[in-house]
């Protein structure tokens, strides 16, 4: 066990908490700091302020290695202090670095003389080098958080990418000891390389999705089916079984948009070619409007009196949040039409949306000319085609996320529209 080494995490965010709990799992003493007293109280009571499979159980099981505090001085006992706040982005996808800079400025004075600081939050290239600490005391580490898999990925990383001043020199011993405990390749590289590596990963992911979107859209027009092509691509060693090839409705959430914006800004600043990245951004915007376009092409161009049923309003399943929800955007765009909506958790809706709310999915579908499934809630998978066929006026379904079975829909004489086919 490595209990003589103490690791601090400043910022009890989705990122900070999961990495801290993963470190405790390896037997390190972990101190989690956050100025938010309410969050600290929750964590000390083994309650996770973020939802991740297994997180609350791990908080409980590993409590002897974990302590949480709102007192920043407690970080002075740490050998390594990770900086892990949330980085908010503006509408242009640019990061607001005010908070992380403040946090670093508060942490530096409490670092003990042997301790090193590691920036874990995502920052633009050049940020770590600019921190007012000698090179041997500061590192950047690429985080690869995935919501819903955050703890397992923190516990079983594919590799560590560590930004430092001199990649050929050994890492600070306590940092090396900590990272080696996870038994994965460690790739030291220059600060700027590591900062760009995270962006590079995201660019590759977005590129894959954009390829899926572009070819999926062609599939929709030529009678091909993208979902038949994907497995073939995944069996190609150069593409791989985990490639991001699911056609979607464009980027949302902000992180990927931020990385693309960073690349475009850097390219513009240094006069390098950014057109490929700009094309990825444009494709995202283009795909976002797929439900609206499909709705007009299939129904509204022919029948402006059509009744529309919208199932799902939240931005994704298992949440109450309507923020940046494609469904809400759709309601705004089609506000002048006759809409009935249903969502398992949304029971009131701002009157400005003009949509009526039904109490069940079937009630929403009653007399509808088209059913649009905008959030892939699990309960929509259970929709019965026979009942739908009975209650709907016209048998048409727009289902971007393939919640329903396309073949079954067609067997029941529904016109069925989904991404990529």
């Amino acid at each position: 066990m490595s209990s003589s080494t103490t690791i601090g995490y400043a910022g009890m965010t989705h990122l900070g908490i999961n990495y801290a709990v993963a470190g405790a799992g390896k037997g390190f003493n972990i101190i989690g700091y956050d100025p938010n007293t309410a969050v600290i109280k929750q964590l000390n009571a083994h309650q996770a302020p973020v939802i991740e499979p297994g997180l609350e159980e791990a908080l409980q099981q590993r409590e002897s290695f974990l302590s949480f505090t709102d007192q920043i001085q407690r970080l002075s006992s740490c050998d390594v202090v990770y900086i892990a706040p949330d980085i908010v982005t503006n509408d242009n996808g640019q990061s607001d670095l005010t908070y992380i800079k403040d946090l670093i400025n508060k942490v530096i004075p409490v670092l003990n003389s042997e301790a090193v600081l590691v920036v874990l939050a995502q920052v633009p290239p050049g940020f770590t080098r600019s921190i007012d600490l000698p090179a041997y005391k500061k590192y950047y580490q690429v985080e690869t958080l995935v919501f819903g898999q955050a703890l397992i990925r923190a516990e079983q990383p594919e590799r560590y990418m560590v930004g430092c001043a001199a990649p050929s020199e050994p890492l600070a011993p306590k940092l090396a000891q900590y990272l080696q405990a996870f038994n994965c390749p460690i790739l030291p590289m220059l600060y700027e390389s590591a900062e760009l590596a995270k962006i590079a990963i995201n660019c590759c992911l977005v590129a894959s999705v954009s390829i899926a979107n572009t070819l999926g859209e062609i599939c929709e027009n030529i009678g091909a089916n993208w979902s038949e092509i994907v497995p073939a691509l995944k069996l190609d060693k150069r593409i791989g079984p985990h490639a991001y090839l699911q056609a979607g409705l464009g980027l949302s959430g902000g992180n990927l948009e931020r990385d693309l914006a960073t690349v475009v800004n850097l390219a513009n600043e240094y006069g390098t070619d950014q057109r490929v990245i700009q094309a990825l951004r444009d494709n995202s915007t283009h795909r976002r409007n797929w439900p609206l376009k499909t709705l007009f092409a299939t129904v509204l161009e022919k029948n402006s009196q059509a009744k529309i049923a919208v199932l799902g309003l939240t931005y994704k399943e298992n949440t109450h949040s309507l923020k940046n929800s494609p469904a809400i955007k759709l309601l705004e765009d089609i506000a002048t039409f006759d809409i009935t909506a249903y969502d398992p958790v949304i029971k009131t809706l701002d009157p400005k949306y003009s949509a009526k709310l039904a109490v069940t999915a079937i009630d929403a579908a009653r007399d509808a000319d088209v059913l649009v499934i905008m959030t892939p809630w699990h309960e929509f998978k259970e929709l019965n085609f026979t009942i739908l066929a009975n209650v709907m006026r016209s048998k048409q379904i727009i289902d971007p996320f393939k919640v329903l079975n396309a073949d079954k829909a067609k067997q029941h004489d529904f016109k069925y529209f989904t991404l990529g086919q």
């Binding site: 444009d282 283009h286 509204l300 765009d333 089609i334």
Partner: protein
């Protein structure tokens, strides 16, 4: 993208149409009048925008609260002389807009999709403005002139695709020429196999989008296109069928590579969701009926 200053449609108190004698202008005038909107039609006969007194004469028309639609142009603009003249015309109108800024409630400019680069196969309002023709260059320059003149007055710039309608004075390659040839019983000659796809818009739809922009006091840029492109061959066949004449549609050896132009009209859906464009077959039938009625 358009932003509406009137979220619900409100009739403008009066609309001055500069270029009311033309194809788009006259249709717009009639459409606005049919909605009970007071209009003032300015034609070349009433004010020649190339004459020195044009600015003064046009300024005389403007009353408090007027909206102004600028649709006058020497079109298609084919050479540098016509380009300069078109800019002079716009100069006169722009000066009036600047001078009467306090009185004007709204300005609408009818531009063209020719402002986009020729190789834009899928056009949106965000497509790069990079005209490859005098006509496109003319509209791009005039957009900038009127935008500068309008300042804080809400300005809708509408960029229609290929227009068709009975009163079209031009005989350009496309539905209008096909229609005339078919009704004269003459063969229709295609460029190559007529493979190029274009978005053909019925003139009444352009007039209606102008009316909608006026009633919503819209600000911004909007393409005016149906979102459905058809090959010249398909359009020619449709014209022949609609005309009911025994006319052949003949290909020629292709001289130029095939280019297509489609429109993503999401911005129009968002701006005017209840508006439905006329299907090309329906539009051509209407033109044929109007033509037969005149015979």
């Amino acid at each position: 993208m358009l932003q509406h200053l009137n979220q619900t449609a409100i009739k403008p108190q009066r609309v001055i149409i500069v270029g009311a004698g033309g194809f788009v202008g006259s249709t717009t005038l009639k459409n606005l009048q049919s909605k009970g909107i007071e209009t003032v039609g300015v034609t070349r006969q009433s004010i020649d925008l190339l004459k020195p007194n044009a600015q003064h004469a046009l300024a005389e028309y403007v009353q408090q609260g007027d909206a102004l639609v600028m649709v006058s142009a020497i079109a298609p603009c084919k050479n540098s002389e016509q380009l300069i003249e078109n800019l002079q015309m716009m100069q006169a109108v722009s000066n009036v807009i600047k001078d009467k800024a306090a009185m004007l409630s709204h300005v609408v400019y009818i531009s063209s999709d020719a402002v986009y680069a020729d190789d834009v196969a899928l056009a949106t309002e965000d497509s790069k403005v990079q005209p490859g023709s005098f006509h496109g260059m003319m509209h791009a320059a005039r957009e900038l002139m009127i935008k500068t003149a309008a300042g804080n007055i809400p300005l809708a710039i509408l960029r229609p695709s290929i227009l068709f309608g009975l009163a079209d004075p031009h005989n350009g390659y496309g539905p209008n020429r096909f229609f005339r040839l078919a009704n004269q019983g003459q063969k229709i000659t295609l460029f190559g196999g007529g493979e190029e796809q274009r978005d053909n818009i019925f003139i009444d739809d352009v007039a209606e989008v102008i009316a909608l922009a006026l009633m919503h006091r819209s600000n911004g840029v909007l393409n005016v296109a149906t979102g459905h492109s058809h090959s010249f061959k398909d359009v020619a066949d449709l014209v022949v069928k609609t005309a009911g004449k025994a006319v052949t549609v003949e290909p020629t050896t292709r001289q130029n590579p095939v280019t297509h132009r489609h429109f993503d009209i999401t911005a129009c859906r968002q701006a005017f969701p209840a508006f439905v464009y006329t299907d090309i077959a329906v539009g051509l039938q209407k033109v044929q009926q109007q033509f037969s009625g005149q015979q």
